[in-house]
């Protein structure tokens, strides 16, 4: 093994990292928003809304992401929508991971004490305010850890976007591997890189989890 060949290409890894980081950040935000909306749909009082939301979760969790991304990447230009790989990838990731996030959040919402919600209703808070200010923060305390592993998976899934020509970490690594002809070293280095990345993300989530649960002494 000889890792010295990679050193000249560290700049390319950095470029790839920036793309991976921005796709990840945007998709985490997007999938969180979709997840919250779908999760509230899944616990709705109206059966039609509930069925729709649960159908969404079931559909996107049972189809491989690579198939979904090809569907959008090749399908959208057919109907006259021309967007680049970055936008398509971010959109597809948000939609797909939104389903996983929704499932985790739904479990958290179902755990919220109904007495708290009734109290909020009696206090005359609007429906939206109850969702945003009461239910979501309480549900997040429970859901954040599983949500964290969903997001860590999202970061790992961004590697699949290299198949639709996005030059993120994996896409750039492919170029480096064929340039240096040291595929083992390049991909091994890349795997370590992803491990460090997801480890840092898990530390961040732990900090946030502790912040959200700071009033819950003894519950830890």
């Amino acid at each position: 093994m000889n890792f010295s060949a990679i050193i000249g290409y560290l700049g390319m890894f950095w470029d790839g990292f920036l793309v991976t980081a921005s796709v990840s950040a945007l998709s985490i935000a997007g999938s969180f928003i979709i997840g919250v909306i779908v999760a509230f749909g899944a616990v709705s009082r109206r059966p039609a809304v509930r069925r729709l939301a649960r159908g969404y979760i079931g559909l996107f969790r049972n189809i491989p992401f690579i198939v979904q991304v090809f569907f959008f990447y090749f399908g959208l230009p057919e109907i006259g929508i021309y967007i680049d790989a970055f936008t398509t990838g971010t959109m597809a990731l948000s939609i797909a991971v939104g389903a996983y996030a929704a499932d985790v959040l739904r479990a958290g919402i179902e755990n919220v004490d109904t007495g708290v919600i009734e109290a909020a209703e009696v206090s005359g808070l609007s429906r939206l305010k109850i969702y945003r200010r009461i239910i979501l923060p309480i549900a997040l305390r429970v859901s954040l850890r599983p949500l964290g592993s969903v997001f860590i998976n999202l970061v790992l899934t961004t590697s699949i976007l290299s198949t639709i020509t996005l030059n993120e970490l994996t896409g750039n690594a492919k170029i480096v591997a064929s340039d240096t002809f040291r595929p083992f070293e390049v991909y091994f280095f890349l795997l370590l890189f992803y491990c460090v990345l997801t480890y840092l993300l898990s530390l961040l989530i732990n900090l946030w989890h502790r912040h959200l649960n700071r009033f819950m002494r003894g519950a830890e």
Binding site: M1, L59, N62, I63, P64, F65, I66, V67, Q68, F70, F71, F74, G75, E78, I152, L156, T157, S159, I160, S162, T163, T170, A173, K174, A177, F181, R182, P183, F184, E185, V186, Y187, F188, L190, L191, Y194, C195, T198, Y199
Partner: protein
């Protein structure tokens, strides 16, 4: 361009792709389970050197993208070791390792969930360690682990779609081939997507059945 429409070859291609996907899935699940259980036992019995080493490897596998693992095995290993590896071998090898890492976690937590008193009782009745494992731990741990195993199986089925990236002609690769020839992405990817969806549902339902059946033996009928 001629030959753009769908023809009677395409269902055959689809069936072949389906066979390859299911085959790789089944092979990696079976081999992965065996290795995963071995890892779990090494860790439960705290085998020196082997146990911590396996822990490091399985953490590494769980925290990195499967696509890159496939690239490492298919493109990297042949250059490093000067050997030839076919795409299918690389796919089964990688997915087996990946499955094993997850199976090990599930197996360990399932064994942890069992009542310690039972083990002590069995030991004091003179059961050998092997018979305890086979007759007392395994059947109960399997019931506890079933929901997690079903989730893992559904997930691993979808992970098999990544092997198309190293050139295995699986269901996803068949989709790419048909997509490039017919240029009908909505029809092609919808069919491929539905196929995976139905497979996942069937897998989940079959798993649920097995779980119910195993559970029936757990309920004590009473005196």
């Amino acid at each position: 361009m001629r030959n753009q429409g769908f023809n009677w070859h395409d269902p055959i291609l689809w069936a072949q792709g389906l066979g390859v996907s299911v085959g790789v899935f089944a092979a990696s699940m079976i081999l992965g389970s065996l290795i995963g259980i071995f890892i779990a036992l090494c860790r439960v019995y705290k085998v020196p050197v082997v146990a911590p080493l396996l822990l490091v490897i399985s953490e590494f596998l769980k925290n990195s993208p499967v696509l890159v693992q496939l690239f490492l095995v298919f493109f990297g290993v042949p250059v490093l070791l000067q050997v030839n590896i076919t795409p299918a071998e690389a796919a089964i090898f990688t997915l087996t390792g990946n499955t094993a890492a997850f199976i090990a976690v599930i197996a360990i937590s399932a064994m942890d969930a069992l009542d310690r008193g039972q083990l002590e009782a069995a030991r004091s009745f003179g059961h050998s360690e092997r018979s305890i494992l086979r007759k007392i731990i395994a059947p109960q741990a399997l019931v506890v682990a079933m929901p997690a195993l079903i989730g893992l199986a559904v997930n691993q089925l979808q992970v098999t779609s990544l092997i198309s990236a190293i050139g295995v002609i699986d269901l996803t690769k068949v989709g790419q081939i048909l997509n490039q020839r017919t240029w009908q992405p909505f029809i092609v990817w919808a069919i491929i997507g539905v196929t995976y969806f139905v497979l996942s549902r069937v897998l989940a339902m079959a798993g649920g059945r097995i779980e119910n059946r195993l559970r029936r033996h757990m309920d004590w009928a009473g005196l």
